[in-house]
Each structure stands twice: as C-alpha cells, then as structure tokens.
Symmetry: C2
C-alpha cells in the first residue's frame, strides 16, 4: 500500500536531448551550489526527477557535468555592456562605478553564484583563477585607468599598489554579498547605499593616498602624529 503509493507510475516522459541537457545543467548548478561538488549523483537525479544512470547518457562523467556548471556560472553572467559602461568617459567615473557595481552585484549576489564561486575556489579549479584575472583586467584595471584619466593624472598602466587598492574595494563589496547570502547575517539592506559609500570612500581615499597631483601621500611610513595639534 505504501509501496503502491510510492510507485506512482513514474510516467516516463521523453524530453528532447537539448532540453534535458540544459535542464540538467541548470538544476545541477542549484544542487551543487547547496551540496557542494561532493553531492551524490543519485540525490541530484532524484531532484531532477529522473534516474541516476540517465545523467551518464548526457555527461560522460560527473566531472564533465561539473565543468558545464562552471561554464554557466563563470561565462554566461558577464554582460558585454559593462565593458562599454566602465570606459564611457561621458560619465563621471563615480557614476560609472556605481552603475557597474549595482549591475554586477545584481548578477552575482545570490546564493547559487557565490557558493559555486567559493566551492570552485576551494577546489582550486583553474577556471576560478582565470576569473580572478578577468576581474582584474576587465574591472579593476579599468577603474584605475579611468580614475587616473578623470583626475588628470599621467596616462600610465595601473601601478600594483593602485590595483591592490581597487582589489580592496572589490573584495569589500564581495564580502558584503558573502555576509548577506552565505552567512545570512544581518546587513544593511540597501545595497545601493553600501556600494555608493564604498565607491565614495575609494575615490575620496585614493586621491589622497596616491594624490590627485595635489597631495601625494604614500600613506605608509608617513603616518605622523595627527593626534591633536
């Protein structure tokens, strides 16, 4: 009786290979983002509503399926318009950064993306390291370059220390997503304000640390005694 209830006619329905395949990948991303890549193929199949061996009809091995998941997460989320946005000098760099980070975080601030990103990082997969390079080239180097242009600083490739400072901004914003969607700890709800403040601090700060031609402060080693005078 209970048995009969469970065996409720699987109603085997055939899907077109393309449909099935993309459905597998999409749901596998959800699944692995929660369970980690050690999640079992049987449990995954149950979630997919099919039997486990069917997975092996579409992917030669679990690893191949995982690779497809990486692809959708890492490759399919970059909006090509962002390239233009960041380099559009008709807008102040501050506005460009605000808009970009709002859009970018709209894309990556969700449990699925963030968790897969971290799982991938911990596994040391090369696509993750590659992505870090992309971030530096497509986002941070541009921000520094555009900032320098707007500040009237000489046109030269971003210095390591400048990039590093941009990384602190990037990491700081990223960490906000972590706290919100991974730790699920209470955070300031208005993402736009958080971004705006972070960007403002970055822009105000960097001009003083590296100098808008005016005050060149190397920051470290200096640090006199501004206690009160």
């Amino acid at each position: 009786m209970a048995k009969a209830a469970l065996k409720s006619r699987p109603k085997q329905r055939r899907l077109s290979p393309d449909e099935r395949r993309s459905d597998f990948i999409r749901k596998a991303a959800e699944f692995f983002s929660e369970e980690g890549f050690d999640g079992g193929t049987r449990e995954l199949a149950r979630k997919l509503g099919v039997t486990q061996p069917l997975l092996y009809r579409y992917f030669p091995s679990k690893d191949d399926l995982i690779r497809e998941v990486y692809r959708t997460v890492y490759l399919d989320r970059w909006n090509p318009e962002w390239d233009a946005l960041l380099t559009d000098r008709s807008l102040p760099i501050r506005d460009r950064m605000q808009r970009f980070y709002e859009a970018y975080t709209d894309a990556i601030f969700n449990r699925e993306w963030l968790r897969i990103y971290l799982f991938a990082a911990l596994k040391g997969v090369e696509i993750n390291k590659w992505y870090v390079g992309i971030v530096e080239d497509r986002i941070l180097a541009r921000i520094v370059t555009e900032y320098r242009a707007e500040a009237g600083l000489p046109d030269q490739p971003p210095a390591p220390a400048e990039l590093e400072l941009a990384w602190v901004l990037q990491g700081g914003i990223f960490y906000y997503g972590l706290r919100r969607y991974i730790y699920e700890s209470p955070v300031m709800e208005e993402k736009e304000r958080v971004i705006a403040n972070a960007v403002d601090v970055f822009l105000e700060g960097i001009s003083r640390v590296f100098g808008t031609s005016v005050k060149v402060r190397t920051a470290y080693a200096r640090v006199p005694e501004p206690t009160e005078d």
Copy 2:
C-alpha cells in the same frame, strides 16, 4: 618482497592519550583544510600514521573531531592583547588599525585558517556565523567608535552605514588573503603596504563620506543625471 617492504613492522608506538588527541586535532586541521570536511577518515588516519579505527577511540564520531578542529581555528587564535590595542587612545587610530591588522592577518592569513573558514562558511555551521558577530563587535564597532572619538564626533553607537563601511575594509583585507593564499594569484607582496593603503583610504574616505563635522556627503542619492544634457 615488495610486500615485505610495505609491511615494514608498523612499530606500534603508544602515545599518551593527551598527546595523541592533540596531535590528531592539529593534523586533522591540516588535513581537512586541504581536503574539505568530506575528506575520508582512512586517508586522515594514514596521514596520522595510525589506523582508522583509532580515531574512534578518541572521538565518538567524525563530526566530533571536526568540532574540535573548529575550536582550535576559531577560538585559539584571537590574541587578547588586541582588545587593548584597539582601544588604546594613547595611539592614533590609524596606528592602532595598522598594528592590529598586521597582527590579525599574521594569525589568519595562511592556507589552513582561510580554507577552514571558507569550508565552515559553506557548511553554514553556527560557529562561523558566531565568529562574524565577534568580528563586528570586537573589531569593527571598536574601529568606528575609536575613529569617531578621535575625529571629535559625538559619542554614539556606530551607525549601520558606518559599520558597513568598516566591513568593506575588513572584507577588502580578507580578500587580499584569499587571493594570496587560496587563489594563489600574484599579489603585492608587502602586506603592510596593502594594509596601510587600505586603512588610509578608509580613514580619509570615511571622514568625507560621513563628515568630520566638515563636509557631510551622503554620496548616494546625489549622483544626478550626468548622461549629457
């Protein structure tokens, strides 16, 4: 012959329970930090130079062992002197922050700590969420409070936006550790410079974003429509 070589007399050596136990925990931290908490007990035992069932003499279950690992990672690394350092008003806040972050990152910027921290975060264990609260109370709230004191601002509890800004700093510095020890991507080697610049940007920036009584810029909401008109 090969067999004989392998069975090279296990040379069973008895250790005192305390010694063995702490050895297990220490090496288990190393092991799990690399393999993740899904790492097998047999492989762990092999690394420990003992047989797998011996682990169960010292810990009722794998989970109990893992809990001990958490303890050493999360509880045993906070230096009580840091509490005094951050609140020592005989030093400029900038110096305090510099010293603190140098020491703090000396403690946590290593593969083992960072990876276990991330694995724990992904598992959603409560000790990890608890730690996030500790960071906010013991580090960030203090930084904001001490900054306000030094800037001559009214003595009031840190505003959410201020804490959030401190989180961006914290996260930015954390992310530097990630890039260096988890991604193993090329970074600026001089950690002190990175910290100094980040702290400088934070202090210079925050005073302008929240105003040292002088310029109060709310930053966001400003940003009109500079498209072109």
